[in-house]
Amino acid sequence: MSALLRHRVTLGWLVVVALWIAAGLLKPGFARIGHLRYLLELASITGIVAAGQTLVVIGGGIDLSVAAVITFSAIILPLLTFPFDPSGMAAVAMTLAITTAIGGLNGIGVVLLRVHPLILTLATATILQGALILIAGGSAVSTVNPAVTFLGNGDLFGLPMTIVTWLLIAAVTLFVLHGTVLGSWLFALGTNDRAARLAGVGAGQAILAVHAASGFCAGLAGLLLLGMNRQGYVGIGEPYLLGSIAAVVLGGTSILGGRGTYLGTIAGSILLVTITALITVVNASPGWRAILFGGLILGLLLISGRERSG
């Protein structure tokens, strides 16, 4: 049992299952399919942001620019309406290309300037934050882009598009991590950067790739959010910075890199949304909500074992 508890991926899923059963028994409304589906829809946003974050973190880095990129994506898309693009697909593609490029710039900075990713992505976030206010002037922007509305609200074979998108991203992420050379390089870099480079790991390419992937994922999450809300505003991405990191860590991935899997992050994302929902259900004040949330993260960390100090 204690070995099971120490295995963080399993621990994450166990806590999710336990929470769902307990909440289902105590709160009759909780276990309704509609409600669970709603939880999963919410979790898919965090899960998609956390997919890029997982890749970056396993490679030994961190991306603190995801919130700014989400907001950027949700604000820039409504500005991209063209007569030749009635479906809105071109705007979606352009937005994703831009956010992927922003991620790529993060990667280039980390590789060329050898700045710690924590500091560099923080700088990127700050620059974007300023740029956004200059572009949008602080007011909310609405969209009528059909492609985005479909992504945020549509169904495919009875499944919400958000969940379908998440499943796709999850499959690709798991495949990249465990089935490609890039994935192996990430584990090697995160475990021991110097040893990995000396063994011929293409560190520059790998770092560039994961940051670009993180930019893509954050951009996609921004589009889904925009589709769900039909509105983008400064601050829309805010909760997903800490959310994505928390999902990664709760899912058993080492924040220091080299150890983890996206399977755990999926559990972490669902766990996060569930905890937030339950805290809302018990009608706690925002203060208690934050304390419960922080306490849970810290508690789970302390249970699931120590790491090298960072």
């Binding site: 300037l113 500091i119 203060g287 960390l301």
Partner: protein, 319 residues
């Protein structure tokens, strides 16, 4: 045989040596200050200095707080929340309780020290990574601030606000006191331990230094400074606001990075942190005088970090 210097002479030389690698920063700072004084001659008066230092002061405090933690190989993402907690505690304890100003401020700072010490203990004793512990703590501390005061409110005594943020350069004085206090601490075994534990933790441990204690002390001092920054912000705004500290988390990191935890060479020092925060404050003011919109300072902050790192990388390559 060597000539043995006197204790005072040796101490003075050691202090001077710590400027190593920071001269570039100081020169840049002097040039910018001169430019600012040229654009805005009003700076060169008591009132001008007072107004300028008041804007700069909270950033200087959190920059020192962040530098202490970063010296220990960590990072503190809870500094913003701690400033928020400081403001609501001050607006409650100082303004609206029987404690009075002295005890109220002391209690607020003490709570900051205790919270920082607790975070440091978890990092040092449980070996958990600082980034995650301080991230979780930012929720705990921010939550506590919301419990004290769910929305902005409370009050600060008028005479205190007048004293701290009136036309007197009180902030500058307090900053000098803090720098002197750090110098005194640095001349104690504990202060030396903090520097040594940050420089080479394994070696310091083998030399008999209590590395865990040094780490905890650094986090505790950092917490106290952040809480005091909260007191000052509360005096500035006349009220407590649980969320007001959030932008300071980022500024503290920017200033610490500028101040030597990797700018123009050199190791992080407290004077570097102060210089870094001053650089930031002057730049914001200069940009304002050049007619740039206020939000442009965000873009500038980010670009400065990237530029600073780029310069550092170029110098390393050249060396």
């Amino acid at each position: 045989m060597r000539q043995v210097p006197s204790g005072a002479a040796l101490h003075a030389r050691l202090i001077w040596r710590r400027n190593r690698g920071q001269i570039g920063l100081f020169v840049l700072l002097a040039l910018l200050l001169a430019l600012y004084a040229f654009l805005h001659p009003g700076l060169l008066s008591w009132a001008g200095i007072a107004r300028f230092t008041q804007n700069w002061f909270p950033v200087a405090l959190v920059a020192i707080a962040q530098t202490l933690v970063m010296l220990m190989g960590g990072i503190d993402l809870a500094i913003g929340a701690m400033v928020g907690l400081g403001t609501v505690l001050a607006a409650t304890l100082v303004g609206e309780s029987a404690l009075g100003a002295g005890l109220g401020i002391t209690a607020t700072v003490a709570i900051g020290v205790a919270a920082g010490g607790l975070v440091g203990t978890i990092v040092a004793l449980f070996g958990l990574p600082a980034i995650i512990v301080t991230l979780a703590s930012s929720f705990l501390i921010g939550g506590a601030a919301l419990l004290v005061m769910p929305r902005p409110g409370g009050s600060m005594p008028g005479w205190l606000s007048e004293g701290l943020v009136g036309v007197h350069p009180t902030a500058l004085l307090i900053l000098i006191v803090i720098l002197v206090a750090w110098r005194v601490l640095r001349a104690t075994p504990l202060g030396l331990s903090i520097d040594a534990a940050g420089d080479n933790p394994a070696g310091a441990f083998r030399s008999g230094v209590n590395v865990a204690l040094a780490r905890i002390a650094a986090y505790a001092i950092s917490g106290g400074l952040a809480a005091f920054a909260g007191v000052y912000v509360a005096a500035q705004t006349g009220a407590g606001d649980p969320l007001i500290g959030n932008p300071l988390a980022l500024q503290s990191i920017t200033a610490a990075v500028l101040g030597g935890v990797g700018f123009l060479g050199g190791q992080g020092t407290i004077r570097g942190a102060v210089a870094g925060s001053l650089l930031l404050a002057v730049l914001v003011n200069v940009m304002f005088f050049l007619g740039l919109p206020p939000v442009a300072q965000y873009v500038m902050q980010g670009l400065i970090i990237v530029a600073a790192m780029g310069i550092k990388r170029l110098r390393e390559r050249a060396a």
